[in-house]
Symmetry: C2
Subunit: 320 residues, 2 copies
């Protein structure tokens, strides 16, 4: 029998689950379609069967189950009104899993899972103070301080994506204006490009693409060809992100900030301007010592590792 932790990453379309051994290797991974299950109970029954069957045939001894999900609350163990899931209201997903498994079950949101994954399996091993920023459709953040994830009083800490850049700025999905994630995310940079194309007569390969089809990947490809609009959009995104990260550093003084997710894969195009504007806006005492790094989980089963890390981090806490 091999001791493994199950990591479950619940997404709007698919849910991926995997078995992680004590060295952080993913021994087996599979997925089911989240959208197929109208009720969360049926979803949990289906995935639990699959997990048990895979564990049995592979001689896995389950030591814990960690779940990463959008709008998930660590304290309540519930997914709360997740806009990208078809299950509405408050879903006590941890409790549902506990009906099927007699091991520790822990839940947190995607960005917190990414931070724990980075700490336990990634590039933040041994660090006690760092931040992980996920740059996907939105902007998520997981803050680790004194070696512990900052959940805050209610489990909702880490909403850097919803700090305000401009009180008269872009409309956010949260109903307010000017949130950071409307600028610094895969979606945000697309908006930036569209606005730049409207207000500019500079030639750009992006001008020939239907607005609804512009993506952060296409902007990246354009930047690689030296496209001025694409490069300006990355610079603008990095400026806004860098300024906010400088403010965040002033509060929690991390050793490193990791960028993770779609937009982080744009490499130097996003890292260089972000790094520049972090340094430009830092208080003297913080300058030239906070590292801006690529996540160490890129090209690995990052979401599943992150989810598994939630359970592992709790087991560690219980043992200390």
């Amino acid at each position: 029998m091999v001791n493994v932790t199950v990591g479950i990453d619940i997404g709007g379309t698919n849910t991926v689950f995997g078995f992680i051994d004590e060295s952080g290797n993913c021994l087996f991974e599979d997925r089911i379609s989240t959208g197929d299950y109208e009720k969360p109970e049926a979803f949990v029954i289906a995935i639990s069967k699959r997990i048990k069957s895979a564990a049995e045939s592979n001689f896995f001894n389950l030591t814990g189950i960690g779940i990463g999900a959008p709008n998930a609350n660590y304290y309540s163990g519930a997914i709360e009104d997740a806009p990208n899931l078809q299950w509405k209201g408050r879903i006590y997903i941890s409790d549902l899993f506990r009906k099927h498994f007699d091991v520790l079950v822990a839940l947190t949101n995607d960005a917190n899972a990414a931070a724990l994954g980075e700490m336990i399996y990634g590039a933040a091993k041994g660090m006690k103070d760092f931040i992980v920023i996920t740059l996907g459709t939105g902007l998520g953040s997981g803050i680790v301080s004194n070696g512990k994830l900052v959940y805050g009083h209610d489990g909702h800490a880490g909403e850097l994506g919803h700090t305000i850049v401009d009180h008269d700025g872009r409309l956010c999905g949260c109903g307010r204006k000017g949130c950071l994630e409307t600028y610094a995310s895969a979606t945000g940079i697309v908006t930036t490009v569209i606005q730049m194309l409207e207000g500019s007569d500079r030639p750009s390969v992006l001008a020939d693409i239907n607005e609804s089809e512009i993506s952060s990947e296409l902007i990246y490809k354009a930047a690689e060809k030296g496209d001025e609009i694409a490069l300006a959009a990355f610079e603008y995104t990095g400026k806004i992100l860098g300024r906010k990260l400088a403010d965040t550093i002033a509060l929690t003084s991390p050793e490193a900030i990791f960028l993770y997710g779609g937009l982080a894969n744009a490499g130097k195009y996003i890292f260089a301007p972000t790094q520049y504007h972090i340094e430009k806006n830092l208080l003297n005492v913080f300058r030239n010592k906070v590292r801006l790094l690529q996540s160490g989980l890129i090209d690995r089963n990052a979401a599943v590792l992150g989810a598994a890390a939630i359970a592992v981090s709790m087991t560690d806490n219980l043992g200390s």
Copy 2:
């Protein structure tokens, strides 16, 4: 013999020290003039003699020494280039005290001391996630998360006063522009009033006062008389502070935020607009649950209690 912790609050003019019993009572307090000592070594010798003599005659058993000082670093035990002290460079003040005492000696900055004081002796007892904001000449902050003060990687965390409100804003003592403390502090509100008086023909009792003599106390007194400029200045200060606190709540999700120090004594004039603009700018999930509170150390030996709390918190850590 009574077990006591010594709290030492080092200020530019005076240094206050006191003996705090296990219930948080200050049994004895005294002060020496910081400015009298050209060298920190001579200062530490003088204050150590006074502490030993007071301890002996009062039958105090010293269990630890906590020191609060400007620009103090918890990790290094040094005061680093404090603009308000006459000792320049890096002063390893903890080490200097250790030459005279065989007990735990710990150092941190004023705002962190205020947060620890609030947690151990004040209104944050039992809270694990809260923030203390000190509104004096500048704006300091101490962030507590998971029951621990957030020092960050280098001991410099908690510089909310140096997050940026406006990149083209007021010149800050740190050399940058638009830092929060240039707006939300006793000094900041004075600048606001002066600017408002220049740009307005509204009658104000403050218009008759020489600019260099306007203080936050006089602005408070004017507000009490219904002075429009004074009230507008408090509203403006609360708006800027409230917005930044809303962003800070999104990051660390505290149970409460405590205001402390000179400007916090203005009561409703600063609390009401700050509270209003916090709520107005909060992400939905945080609304109506973060309490904005007056420090529980007001009218007590707050600075000395805060300093003592540093040593007590470390003893607690060692014991856990």
